[in-house]
């Protein structure tokens, strides 16, 4: 019996929350940044000795967590709308535009095609076009805005397949369920059976912004401020560029 209780206590001890032993910075970052933020965390710890813990998820989920009082130190959102819902949670004057991204049209690799303009999506060859759900997924919001800006939204809206995330839009093209998808340029490096049909020029496409801000309910405001400054510096810019993002710098 005693041994059983000892085992039980050990198991409980492994999951019960303990106060952090040393100061760390807890960053909530949009799911699309999960990979690059892992690299950032490793290098930042090497340079400064400060541990960076990264929590990833859909930006709207991350925003809900912060609104509920989660002790997040730094928030990097995939769009401005989600950051905008946290006006009361953000430390004044810390919000910056950290990164930008570019939209791209992808097609299945076995039917490669190059487009001169996204207007060609009205072509009958594109029977189904996958984009992130424009009601919730930032990439979908941007894609819809761009198609509207081109004036072809009414013509293509019947062909749109909304997906729960931008990755699923890409997957729809990969497995042949859709003839094209509008995704981020950064999604492409990881794609295997897709081919780039058109990279929408930065000047022409929607302004895609990943805003970052220090959060008030965090435990390590100073650490978050220092990390944010580093994220805007040259070394971090190189890492972000390597992953396909466009650093917006100082």
């Amino acid at each position: 019996m005693l041994r059983w209780w000892a085992t039980f206590a050990l198991v409980i001890a492994t999951v019960v929350p303990l106060p952090a032993q040393r100061p760390e910075v807890l960053v909530s970052a949009a799911a699309s940044l999960a990979d690059v933020m892992g690299t950032i965390a490793r290098i930042y710890e090497m340079r400064t000795g400060t541990r960076v813990v990264v929590n990833t998820g859909a930006s709207n989920t991350l925003a809900r967590q912060i609104a509920a009082g989660a002790m997040v130190d730094l928030f990097i959102s995939a769009d401005e709308a989600q950051m905008g819902t946290l006006r009361d949670e953000v430390v004044a004057n810390t919000r910056v535009d950290l990164l930008s991204n570019q939209l791209a049209v992808v097609v299945p690799a076995d039917r490669p095609r190059t487009l001169r303009s996204a207007r060609e999506l009205t072509d009958a060859a594109f029977r189904r076009i996958a984009i992130g759900d424009p009601a919730a997924v930032p990439a979908g919001v941007y894609a819809k805005a761009y198609l509207q800006q081109l004036g072809i939204w009414p013509a293509v809206s019947g062909k749109i397949v909304p997906t729960a995330s931008v990755r699923l839009a890409l997957a729809a093209v990969e497995n042949g369920a859709a003839d094209a998808a509008i995704v981020y340029r950064t999604d492409l490096d990881a794609a295997h059976r897709t081919s780039l049909a058109l990279a929408i020029p930065l000047a022409e496409g929607p302004r895609i912004i990943y805003p970052a801000a220090v959060i008030r309910s965090g435990r390590n405001r100073e650490g978050a401020t220092r990390l944010l400054a580093w994220l805007r510096g040259t070394e971090a810019a190189g890492i972000f560029k390597g992953a396909g993002f466009i650093p917006l710098g100082q």
């Binding site: 929350p17 967590q65 009082g69």
Partner: protein
């Protein structure tokens, strides 16, 4: 297997195990009450107990987040003791336990309903107190169903995603579970890692579901 994948597999199994231990006392109690007692509002208790089964897991997660978040009623009560739930392994266990509970309650309740009341009455005539009757007669007779229910709850806990990602997040080495890991790796195009987790997930779930089904159907 890379250590990262192994860590996630071990953590998920351990968390699901603790979640099962945590859900056992309330689960058995609730199952027994529902099987053996009639009272006003029983239908409401019954419905509440099966709510996590029918609600979207994300909705359950949002409710938990509201409850245990630092601004929620439970979170506020725990704050003076320095206890934080959100983003900790405790949040993983909590989400898993809540999602697994209905399966345990349903299966265990069926077990209690099958126990012949006469055996309990006999124990009483021999002078056993209610608690002793429960622990030495009722519980052993229903044990097979309780075990099957616990295993079902465990399998549900193993695969829990929606509520976990909302209350616990996806922090590598701290709260990232199999299901959440598969999501995160898929979102960043790390297909090999996602596939490795998928294989682990299928193996674990297959084994647990196999045992649970055997326990529930074989007499």
């Amino acid at each position: 297997m890379p250590t990262e994948i192994l860590d996630i597999a071990v953590f998920t199994t351990l968390a699901a195990l603790v979640a099962t231990i945590v859900m056992l006392p309330p689960g058995i109690g609730l199952a027994w009450v529902l099987a053996r007692h009639q009272f006003r509002g029983k239908a409401i208790v019954e419905t509440l107990a099966s709510l996590p089964l029918v609600m979207p897991p994300v909705a359950t997660g949002l409710m938990l987040l509201w409850l245990v978040g630092r601004r929620g009623p439970v979170g506020r009560a725990l704050a003076p003791f320095g206890i934080e739930i959100v983003f900790t392994p405790a949040a993983v266990v909590l989400a898993m336990a809540i999602m697994g509970l209905p399966l345990l309650v349903r299966t265990a309740r069926a077990g209690f309903e099958q126990v012949t009341k006469r055996y309990e009455q006999m124990a009483e005539t021999l002078g056993a107190r209610p608690w002793r009757v429960f622990t030495t007669v009722t519980l052993p007779l229903a044990s097979r169903n309780i075990l099957a229910g616990a295993l079902l709850g465990f399998t549900r806990a193993l695969g829990e995603f929606g509520a976990t990602i909302v209350v616990a997040g996806s922090i590598p080495g701290r709260t990232r579970t199999l299901a959440v890991g598969i999501y995160t790796y898929t979102e960043t195009g790390q297909d090999t890692r996602a596939a490795a987790l998928l294989a682990v997930s299928v193996t674990l779930a297959f084994g647990a579901a196999l045992i649970a089904n055997r326990l529930a159907h074989v007499d």
